[in-house]
């Protein structure tokens, strides 16, 4: 595309002057995008009007980010059209999007840490000769800041400023290039509540300056606070039900969090499965005041309390990224516990390494089976013995016993329905469901006391999913305590005795399964706290 930004915007400006709201600023129709086997977008529509703040809402994996990456030119759609100011556009890359006046504030900031704020803002569009004149670009950035009411020191290095301020740099980048349509991808994911309010002020200020904004988010507070209209995505498709009539979008002031939540997470309400036996009295896992940090150093767990009894499944519901991964890692000894305690059977394991923790009878089905759960290049049999390879019967006096390993591998493969039940098969060549069965066979076969399970059926087909659920219930009946972390509400509600909801590193509620309706869970997961009652 070689349309220059100036003329495009001038034309746009005249158009809106003449016909105020007749032509939407942006119309995306029937967008499809596939990545290998996964169809991320299945024909999505989006309409955004000039001067509005539009929310694009949905759970993790619903397709929101993918849709916006298509708009920004980072991905090319397999099908569908995009019309900007009424004219069809074909984007070959971010340069084209920028030229049209579309700017993206990424969720994972696209900033170069050792460079200064000003350098990051102008990078790629420096508008000066070959010489880098720091003063000049800093002044230019200061002007921009004054105009839009955004404050951040242009001379500071990006790696030295907190994430909340880094986000402002991303916003300035986009404004510097004269963006008229700003896309915010999960803007409050890394912000404190105060920073969120400051961001809202900036957002409103931008709207008052005539900009149009799209907010990608799953947080209902934000949606209700600043947006005008809402488009909901689920499983790569638009979805809203309103009295049976399919409406493409909601108008914020006419809707409420419950309706949005239901659109985001729910299908038809499912029957709850009857529990075969009630949980036992004995407490197996007790977590008190658990604190931990994420890989980036931000607080990930801010004081977690819960218990799990023998013969009980405690489901942990929540949108991914609210501390669930860190929780599982702390329980296994893979992440440092910064505060609080973890007791298993009365023994404090918060300082133990994974080997010792597992020796206490803890099993782990990790959320990423390909990287954390299995050594893909090993055989099925070798994966079955991972963690047990150094003692009998698999090794005697320092020597591995291949015959026993193979025999056990064959037995477990048959028992756990791995297809084909060949212990010599390389795990990388198995389907996802069979790979997960290998993990289960390894983790569940030795009567564990506590099983930590994370996203166990992610990417699995129905048959494999049902198999996993059956085995988990079987373990529950056997008396194991199970911590089930999942962002699939159906799964949580179908299996759990009690459900804890995690949000921003805290457990915001623990409900009995019976009283945990889709609606209630959806609201809690989205940060909408219930009135004390």
């Amino acid at each position: 595309m070689t349309v220059s930004p100036q003329t495009e915007r001038e034309r746009g400006g005249m158009a809106t002057a003449v016909a105020a709201e007749s032509v939407p600023l942006l119309e995306m129709r029937g967008i499809r995008k596939r990545f290998g086997d996964l169809e991320a977008l299945k024909g999505v529509d989006l309409t955004v009007r000039q001067g509005e703040i539009h929310a694009l809402v949905g759970e993790n994996g619903a397709g929101k980010s993918t849709l916006m990456n298509v708009l920004y030119g980072l991905y090319r759609p397999d099908a569908g059209t995009i019309a900007f100011r009424g004219r069809p556009v074909h984007l070959t890359g971010p340069r084209d999007a920028i030229a049209l006046g579309i700017g993206m504030i990424h969720q994972h900031f696209m900033l170069v840490p050792p460079l200064s704020v000003a350098e990051n803002v102008v990078l790629g569009d420096e508008r000066s000769g070959p010489v880098l004149a720091e003063r000049v670009i800093e002044d230019r950035v200061r002007e921009l800041e004054k105009r839009f009411g955004i404050v951040v020191d242009p001379a500071a290095r990006v790696e030295d400023i907190p994430l909340g301020l880094q986000q402002r740099v991303e916003i300035l980048k986009v404004l510097y290039r004269g963006s008229e349509l700003l896309i915010f991808d999960e803007p409050t994911a890394v912000l404190t509540p105060q920073e969120v309010d400051e961001l809202f002020d900036i957002v409103r200020g931008l709207r008052d300056e005539g900009k149009t904004l799209i907010l990608i988010t799953h947080k209902l507070r934000e949606v209700m606070a600043v947006t005008d209209r809402i488009t909901v995505l689920r499983g790569g498709q638009n979805v809203v039900l309103r009295g049976g009539q399919k409406v493409a979008e909601l108008i914020t002031k006419d809707t409420n969090p419950a309706e949005i939540a239901r659109a985001m997470v729910g299908r038809e309400l499912k029957e709850l499965r009857a529990r075969a036996t009630p949980p036992r009295e004995q407490v197996v896992l007790e977590v008190r005041g658990l604190q931990a940090r994420s890989d980036r150093g931000a607080p990930a767990l801010q004081g977690i309390d819960f218990t799990v009894r023998a013969g009980e499944i405690l489901g942990v519901a929540g949108v991914g990224g609210n501390g669930q991964s860190e929780l599982a890692q702390c329980l296994l000894g893979l992440r440092k516990v910064m505060g609080g305690t973890i007791h298993i059977g009365g023994i404090d394991i918060s300082r133990d390494d994974p080997k010792r923790t597992r020796a206490r009878g803890v099993a782990y089905v990790p959320e990423d089976r390909r990287i954390e759960g299995l050594v893909l290049a090993f055989t099925v049999a070798d994966n079955f013995i991972l963690g047990k390879h150094d003692h009998a019967p698999y090794a005697r006096r320092g020597v591995l016993d291949p015959a026993t390993i193979l025999k056990t591998g064959g037995r477990l493969a048959a028992e756990y329905d791995v297809r084909p039940p060949n212990p010599r098969a390389i795990v990388a060549n198995l389907s996802g469901g069979n790979q997960q069965k290998v993990v289960l066979g390894r983790e569940l076969s030795e009567q564990p006391k506590l099983i930590v399970v994370s996203q166990p059926t992610r990417g699995l087909d129905i048959a494999a999913t049902e198999y996993v659920h059956e085995r988990l219930l079987e373990q529950r009946g056997r008396g194991a305590a199970i911590l089930l972390i999942s962002s699939e509400l159906d799964e949580i509600r179908g299996l759990s005795d009690r459900i804890a909801v995690m949000y921003e590193g805290r457990i915001v509620a623990v409900l009995d399964a019976a009283s945990a309706t889709e609606e209630r869970l959806g609201l809690l997961m989205a940060g909408h706290t219930e009135a004390a009652a």
Binding site: F35, G73, L74, Y75, R76, T92, G93, P94, R95, I98, M104, H106, F109, M110, L111, V112, P113, P114, L115, E119, L123, G124, D125, E126, S128, G129, P130, V131, L132, K173
Partner: protein, 315 residues
Amino acid sequence: MTIDQLIGAGVLAATLRLATPILLAALGGVVSERSGVVNIALEGCMLVGAFFGVVAADQSHSVVIALLAAVAAGAVLAGIHAVAAIHFRSDQIVSGMALNILALGLTSYLDYQLYGTTGTPSDLAGVPDVEIGLLAGVPYAGDAIAHQNAIVWASLVLVVLIQLFLFRTIPGLRLRAVGEHPRAAETVGIAVRRTRYWAVLASGVLAALGGAYLSLSVAHSFTDGMTGGRGFIGLAAMIFGRWTPVGALVASLIFGYGTALSFSLQGASIGDVRVPVQLLSTLPYILTILAVAGFVGRSRPPAADGIPYETEGHA
């Protein structure tokens, strides 16, 4: 052991001489790694520069053509590394090592085929020395320092130029961005792969110039493997100098001084004890290990260094 052996004029002059090839390799390393490509093949680029410079000097009797041939050879070798690293996204260490072995084998092979056992001719056109009159006035060492080969002065000028380029120009800013966060650079429309190709080619040119210095200015001949690991020492100087040209200069001077000292102290002793000069020569390498291990300040390469870059599914 005398003071003169430690910091005499001769030692200081030798320091500058010995530092130059290391410095040129280090500058090449800085440029390449700042864009995010590890170029272990600098040793090989240096060697082909040395060899083809000699061949061209022999054939053309012109210093200019000899230098051009030298840097062209370095650029070609670096270009192969660039294709492997950037286009094929192969492992940059293995690719670099392979090219080093290739350079050694190829230059030795051609040396034998062209010059047999008699060796390269002795009347090669050489790069002239240049006297900087101003410096001669400097007390104590002026006389010795002021008289250096043209390439020595050129490399000092290059330090300034590259430092300015990287930190005071827009193209330099972009190059650094590519090396730190290539995806961020791509999202603002910078051509990551193209930038890296240029950087790697430039590194080959610089290293080859260092090789040409060895063969055309110092030895006036070519012997197999004459670079003797200076390319690797250059990488060490780059790390020790924290990936900046000025730092590389300081590091190269330190390393050069160590070598100069080991020559100057031959046969010297402190009281009765002989000075183990060879052990002095290990100093640069020990210092580098300490620096990389974080014992001597924090030494961090560009964040995307050595990581092959995958563009997303778009154009």
